[in-house]
Amino acid sequence: MTPATTPLLSVERLTMRFGGLLAIDDLSLDVGARRITGVIGPNGAGKTTFFNCLTGFYKPTTGSVRLNHPQRGSMRLEQLASHEVARKAQVVRTFQNIRLFPQMTVLENLIVAQHNMLQSASRFSLAGLLGLPGYRRAEQAAIDKAVGWLTRLHLIDKADTAAGALPYGMQRRIEIARALCVDPLLLCLDEPAAGLNPRESAELNVLLKHLAADEGIAILLIEHDMSVVMNVSDHICVLNYGRKIAEGSPAEVQRDPNVIKAYLGEEDADEELATEVRP
């Protein structure tokens, strides 16, 4: 296999069981570098559980999650603690219910995301306490990176505002900006368009495409907003009751009878939902 065809992330036979509940059932999935992979499915299909297994918040019952890091080689994400997934494997996630540091300013939120770089530059706080130039340079670099992302995401005016005081749509963007400050190889976005208005969703589409194409960041996207998923995804995986029921390009997935059944039910097709799946 040539490096170009080796997937960035390969999930093999992943199963997550909570007592009697099978939240993820034998899921296998490949995520390509520089590509946007959508994960869709009805509520309770196991999408967020899947993210939690990828990012070390849950330990999967069985199965493996292998990341092919271009510099650091292959690693098994399911064996890493959640902070190591972000730090070593550079797989960074956002949350369905936004998790910012609400009392800290937007800029501080983005600086906290660069903690590990700054912490080693501060030599476990000693160089930082003394204000040595090495640490000052690192801090300035961190600020510059944060300011760069804030500018590109049109958040720079709010840099000194407490993150919790900002409107919902802005908080979603801040969470993405904060994740970008960790230098992700793979960015896992859990419903980034939830609560956004159509204009904000359209902006999100542009941003996601730009990140994948120009920044080379692979994106794994959980989303209910079909105008986002169908528009930006290169590849879509459909889950239902923890099982993968379909996979393919957006057009293929929309035609798949299993997907239509999962979303619309067997018999009485609902017109509204039909338009949601097929925009």
């Binding site: 910012l100 501080e108 912490q119 960790v182």
Partner: protein, 434 residues
């Protein structure tokens, strides 16, 4: 209780009357058995007597008091609304101005603290009380790392204070160590105990963490009471050497040179008190500089981020364990330093000085001051140490006064006296431009 429930909406006079009547009715119902009836000793036998005038007065006071409280709360609310509306108009300029004001107050407080023993050099009481305030300021700043910044509710902070005090007590009485030699060792010892407490409680938070830390504080105290061979048990450790001025003791003139004879001063027992005052002032200021700098470093920001959202911290690649342990260890170390000073100042320590009551007061200082606010801790220490002192004239009502003051602060300033959080760095410098 009902008198403290403040109305949500501004009320009309009729509503206020109705509300006050309801309070009076409750007062009447409660008052009949508690005030209206009393027992009198009549020739050895108990007889029930009535006190209707007293009850009537009590009900009248409740009625009038409630009416007044509601009126006052309405007026205050209207004023606050007006102020908020005015503030919104000038929102841009406010935070910077507030920060500058606070900095100004901080420097003024420092100047007062530096000059105080000079102004009151022959007033033992003032210098001694000020020293006590500074001990609590230092403890408050130490606990602020754990509770205010890292958001870990610690109800057993006094344990680290005790570890510091006993480490110095034992090192000095058993091994003859001096104050400055023992200080770093005692700090390291307290930090080690901080890690011992922190390690098993890594997964706990909120109420559960509070209970474990409360237990930890008690464990340390009970060990000190019962391990008689080490700690002297309830008798404590006596004749702990007082700190000397770079080897010059504060003593009446004798054979060896003393502080007074070396500088050609007349001996006065107040010299030692003033030296102790400046010593704790120096330690407290070092603590302040240390904590303020730490707050602006990655680890300090990680503490605050941990307080805000631990799961988000992990998702950003922050090792929650290290961040929590560093907060516990550093907070404990500062408490240990304060303990060393306490032992050196008192010359005598016993487990009685390290009860839960102390933990509660230190925590109250941090909470009342405003979580994470350094200046707030100073103000709250002043209130919490001086109020009981000033309240001595009120004898048995002292604690009542103390409690009422705390309740009032929490009603008026729910986030603490200084709830304002100063960002650790800014993109737009106050006053415009970068």
């Amino acid at each position: 209780m009902s008198a403290l429930v403040v109305a949500r909406q501004p009320t009309s006079p009729a509503e206020r009357l109705k509300d006050a009547a309801a309070s009076a009715l409750i007062a009447l119902l409660l008052g009949i058995p508690m005030i209206g009836l009393t027992t009198v000793d009549q020739g050895g036998a108990l007889r029930v007597a009535t006190r209707w005038p007293a009850l009537l007065a009590f009900v009248a006071v409740c009625f009038a008091g409630r009416l007044l409280l509601r009126y006052a709360s309405d007026v205050l609310r209207a004023r606050r609304l007006a102020r908020e509306t005015a503030a919104e108009a000038t929102a841009g300029a406010r935070p910077a101005a507030g920060g500058a004001l606070l900095t100004g107050i901080g420097w003024a407080a420092l100047a007062v603290a530096l000059l105080l023993p000079i102004a009151f050099s022959d007033n033992r009481y003032v210098v001694d009380t000020a020293t006590t305030v500074l001990i609590y300021v230092m403890l408050g700043w130490g606990l602020n790392v754990v509770v205010g910044l890292a958001g870990l509710l610690d109800l057993g902070y006094v344990a680290f204070y005790a570890v510091g005090a006993y480490t110095y007590g034992l090192l000095s009485t058993q091994l003859g160590w001096g104050f400055w030699q023992a200080l770093p060792v005692a700090g390291a010892m307290a930090a080690a105990f901080g890690i011992i407490l922190g390690w098993p409680t890594l997964r706990l938070r909120g109420d559960y963490l509070a209970i474990v830390t409360l237990g930890f504080g008690e464990i340390i105290r009970v060990i000190l009471v019962n391990w008689t061979e080490l700690s002297g048990g309830p008798n404590g450790i006596t004749s702990i050497p007082r700190p000397s001025f770079f080897g010059l003791p504060f003593k009446p003139p004798g054979d060896a040179p003393t502080f007074a004879s070396f500088f050609g001063l007349e001996y006065s027992p107040n010299q030692r008190l003033i030296f102790l005052y400046y010593l704790i002032l120096g330690l407290a200021l070092l603590t302040n500089v240390f904590v303020s700098r730490m707050r602006r470093l990655p680890v300090g920001r990680a503490w605050e981020a941990m307080r805000e959202d631990e799961i988000a911290c992990k998702a950003m690649g922050i090792n929650a364990r290290n961040v929590k342990l560093s907060a516990f260890a550093l907070g404990a170390m500062l408490g240990g330093f304060a303990g060393v000073f306490f032992a050196a100042r008192q010359g005598f320590i016993s487990p009685e000085s390290f009860t839960f009551n102390e933990s509660a007061i230190i925590l109250a200082i941090v909470v009342l001051g405003g979580m994470g606010s350094q200046l707030g801790v100073v103000l709250a220490s002043l209130v919490l140490v001086l109020l009981p002192e000033l309240g001595r004239d009120f004898a048995e009502y002292r604690m009542l006064l103390f409690g009422a003051a705390m309740i009032l602060i929490m009603i008026w300033k729910p986030g603490g006296i200084l709830a304002h959080r100063e960002p650790t760095l800014r993109h737009h410098r106050p006053g415009g431009g970068r």
